[in-house]
Amino acid sequence: MPDEDHVTVGKAINRKDGIAKVTGATVFGNDQNAYRQLHMKSVYTHYPHVEIESIDLSEAWKVPGVVDIIVARDIPGNPILFGRFPVLVSDRARYIGDAVAAIASESAESAEMAAAAVCIRYGKQFDVLTTVDQALAPDAPMIHHDTQGNRIDYASHHLHDGNAEAVIREAPKVIRHSYATQFVDNGYIEPEAVITEFDPNTDTVVIRGTIQNPYNIREALAKVLDRPLNQVRVIQSGIGGSFGGKDESMMFIASRAAVLSLRTGRPVKAVLTREESFMASAKRHPITSNYEAGLDENGRLLAIKSLHHMQGGAYNKQAMFANWRGSIHAAGPYAIPHVCTDIHGVHTNTIFGGAYRGFSAPQVVFGIESFIDECAEAVGMDPVRFRLLNCVKPYDRLPTGQVLDPAFMPANVADLIELVCSKTDFEKKWERNRIARTEVGSTSVVAGIGLSITFRGVGLGGEGIDTGSATVTIDADGKVRVQSGFTEMGQGLSTTLCQIAAEEFGIDSTWVTWSQNDTAENMDAGPTVASRGIVSGGNAVKDACGKLRKRIEEVLLPKWMAPEGSTLHFSDSAVYAMTPDKELLNRIGFAEAARICLKGEGISLRSLGWHSPGPQYFDHESGQGPAYPSYLFGATVAEVEVDQGTGVIVVKRITSAIELGKAINPQIVRGQFIGGAIQGMGYALMEEMDCSDGYLHTRNFDDFLMPGAMDIPPIDIIISETDVHVGPYGAKGIGELGIEMIAPAIANAHANATGKRIRELPLNLERVVLGHAL
């Protein structure tokens, strides 16, 4: 008798790619080579904002081995990519990562020598705008001639609900503070790599590489190369981490290499050095946030007004989306009658912002959750009681007008707060630290504890249409192949999708295999971003499996002359035909069922699964509408020790409670959460890219410090599973929740320990000791 419970879903099965990865057999970008390949090197500007008069290639051509050199005029199609990114610049460099030429040579060394031999003649040096304030100054020069005051196109978003300004004016208590975050690199250990070639048999340009979003790259390259989409094929290699980052930088090197491949007829390989990767890849952009709140005498939030500016860099293809997410999350998971949020993106002559795990949420969550602690303090409440009083509850209305219907979003954040606070004995420790800090000297080591909470919109929401694709094929031996339009880059999606297929067919997960994304094989599923692989990708797998089960049922039930209303069940690697009276009519193995369909009846057992939550009807003028189909919720406590003499903050323990719907694979969920949390800790304490004068001073991992194994505190995770109906089996995606809450929890813990508030990230030695950056 079929078992109704889940067999594979919810189990910590081992990763599908585990053996390949522990034996070093996985083929990453730089592990790919092709017969007669050339090596590409880009030639970068020496100045961040400068007129280019001419580019002299004569010396570069003399370097032995050089086969081809391209400049901007050699681009066959559109030389400007989405977000104003140029493939190569010809007349003006706008940031230090702009490239003027690309060289293809017989060896990497020769390409590098030729790149150094290119002579760029510079003209006028323009003012280098490195801050939002400089770029927005009324007399600031324009980085692009046709933007509005250096604002990034379409990157201003507004969420206006009620009349926050008037309410704050009249409120019994008004609090105002500003917060700032920094440029941070994604920090993937594998630098970008690509190999491009032209296949004359199919008239197709083939691109293999460390590409997070193959369909984005395909579209970009089709325009650059002036070719239709079906003549550009993108195949993912193994990806050594991405976190949102391997997108723009891949667009640059893939487009330059592809042009060179078409011109030379030879494969072209490009691998970035770490220095190039830091310079030419997307960063988590800085956001400055100005918050104002009006509160009543009892500590209830009446209104929050906030203004945010994100520093986007010279070009930007994500601010328009990331800022929208920022606008929805900037007032936090609080029930506030009046909210006014405005967010803008600004061009500067610096490295550029793009996608990095969290996508504007880590920045605004740092702001709002620091601010909430400051509001609590101003009204004399502890941070727990203040949050419990003001946080959203089931059926509350968000400032977007969306009502938190427990069928789709449980809004159990108050429960999560109580869980983490009781587990850490928060209120007792918080009070004890507060009293203790006044009794000790200013150079001693003091303990602190801090809380932060969050909610996170699932998927793309109102950013754009969210779609997922998957092709599922059952072979004649009953083994199953899953091809997803989503990308495996370490997060474990391939394993999770195989688990879903195994569950749907009632077979062991070892019967299911998975293949890397290939735009020639799969439907465009959009980018693998926003933690949506599990919702949109998983639902697409379920959809495909459901169609195949129905197909098998339509073959077998008539064949077995099953009475009207009979059903076919899939379990224990077998199919069971059940009569309407729940009598077992017949049972055969799953492999036998597949063989009958394919070989006996000639029925196809391949199906395209598709999922879209549909367009989210959202008014982008006012910020009103159902922004996301659902939300995840979380609460985190950080416990720290602050050495006030040296400025060292040691995180002693992180405790999080998270509501994620359903954990399809608890081991993968745990890894995603911890990985995100530790990136959040690095963001909080040490990571910062210095581009303060337009030149990038943080050039490699000796300058850009990330957490190492010695820095890791114990991390307790309390997973709250809820019965929601959004993703497969209720899953909602866990990739980004972990990173958001850590920085504000640590900042709040630091304030609890020292009585001093640091409103800028990172909380490095200088800021802890001096209160400001050096």
């Binding site: 990865k21 911890i674 991992f701 890791i712």
Partner: protein
């Protein structure tokens, strides 16, 4: 150019290497041992770690010529010839210590080097053993757990 002789994954190799050729390039480009990764080129990330006479070294900072007369172990040499994984490799899989897999060869080799010296490492010794290798995906917790699991299994085997 100079001639060197070294043992790589149990096999003796006679090679002619450039004076400035790095060990990582010799392994990857000449011998096709691409399991050794390069992440930074300056010895900071540790992805290129191999064992030189049993000790972890960053192969981007070692000249190929320096391997002359020495024994090198790369990730390709760890599993048994029949493909049976080393207990450290199996433990990494079982403990969920892998995400993107780019640092995994280095992490596994560091763990193997540690457990070759002691089967009862303290947590601090485990952390120290992998502290030269950066992992951006996992947050290290499951890697530390994997090494503890490997040590426990290897203790059982050795009894």
């Amino acid at each position: 150019m100079m001639d060197i002789r070294c043992e790589i994954n149990g096999r003796v190799h006679d090679l002619t290497v450039g004076a400035s050729e790095r060990l990582v390039d010799m392994l990857r480009d000449r011998l096709g041992l691409a399991g050794t990764k390069e992440g930074c080129g300056i010895g900071e990330c540790g992805a290129c770690t191999v064992l030189l006479d049993g000790t972890p070294v960053a192969s981007c900072l070692v000249l190929a010529a320096q391997a002359d007369g020495h024994r090198i172990l790369t990730i390709e040499g760890l599993a048994a010839p029949d493909g049976t994984l080393h207990p450290v490799q199996q433990a990494f899989i079982d403990a969920g210590a892998i995400q993107c897999g780019f640092c995994t060869p280095a992490m596994v080799l560091c763990a193997y080097a540690l457990l070759s010296n002691t089967l009862e490492p303290s947590e601090r010794e485990i952390r120290t053993a992998i502290s030269g290798t950066l992992c951006r995906c996992t947050g290290y917790v499951q890697i530390i757990e994997a090494i503890e699991l490997a040590a426990q299994r290897m203790r059982q085997y050795s009894q």
